[in-house]
């Protein structure tokens, strides 16, 4: 049976995201899930393994949400519009799928596992790379895919500004910045910033 394993991951992710991985003990996860300690250590070798499981679960959740938000986009402009509108909803807590907004789970977790080569820090970096890939693939125009990196940078800035800086309007701000960049890129007379590099 994998359902005990799943219950553990669900409880762990909820608590980890709410309070931070270092602030949540094994026993709290057991109490919340109603699973016995022995069962936990039957499915996971250690707390770190459980954290990786929770990261994996959140990764699926987030990429799933992202893909749904971006699906059917016909242009870079549409990708930007959908993504940052979605982020705005997330920041304001109206995306049940992602839970109450408490910043990016991967950023928060990486901040607490500082050994750079740790499996956990690597997973967080990999997640970010896969998010970038998802954005890239949702851009129909092949010659515009370099926009994915710009979008990512603004997205990271918006998440951090919204959470740590408590700027709830950060997604809209980022969206305006991207709108300006797009307007410029489309202008034939002003091609200072050529978007084919990188």
């Amino acid at each position: 049976m994998n359902d005990k394993r799943q219950e553990l991951i669900d409880a762990a992710l909820a608590l980890f995201y709410e309070k931070g991985v270092k602030s949540v003990g094994i026993n709290e996860i057991l109490a919340r899930s109603g699973v016995a300690k022995k069962t936990l250590y039957h499915h996971f070798a250690s707390k770190d393994a459980l954290i990786l499981g929770a990261l994996g679960q959140r990764h699926e959740q987030f990429i799933g949400w992202l893909a749904r938000v971006l699906s059917g986009s016909q242009s870079v402009d549409e990708v930007i519009d959908r993504l940052f509108t979605g982020l705005d909803h997330w920041f304001n807590g109206t995306v049940e799928e992602l839970g109450d907004f408490r910043g990016c789970f991967f950023i928060n977790t990486a901040a607490q596992y500082t050994e750079l080569n740790s499996e956990i820090a690597s997973y967080c970096a990999k997640h970010k790379a896969l998010v970038a890939q998802t954005i890239r693939r949702s851009i129909a125009e092949e010659n515009e895919q370099a926009w994915a990196d710009t979008i990512m940078l603004l997205k990271e800035g918006a998440i951090t500004s919204a959470y740590v800086g408590q700027q709830v309007g950060a997604a809209k701000q980022a969206q305006q910045i991207l709108a300006a960049l797009r307007a410029q890129a489309k202008s034939p007379t002003l091609s200072v910033h050529n978007r084919t590099s990188r």
Copy 2:
């Protein structure tokens, strides 16, 4: 004497920034500083108070570095150039003043103190606001100060991308984006993005 207090803060900040506030115990700070436990609790009411002290110290450090980097700037373009060149050096570990790059201490600490109204989370938000203010004041042109928010957003994105996403070139990427935005803002024919709003 305040030098014991200072030694404690120095040791605490170094360890907290390197490993994260939750991963460092009081005893480790005492061992590193060579100060007695009783002395610590003479100067600080609790570990949280010591964390606030370390945040305060880092705030002074960072604002000091920032002001120095930005000092003498004559224009928004110059502010952007100096700031992101400085960030690039920081990310690549060539700013001894700020220590080995391990992301933003305030972002990392906020990620571990998730009660939104906690003194620690509030301090982190306040720090970000004061950084924004420092940037705003370094912009000579009064009608251009709204650029500070844009610069902040890109700066936060660059820090997070560099640390969590392990993209060492994030500062340069942000700088290119800002260069494009500036080029557009200066173009008389293309004023889609009016920079007086907030």
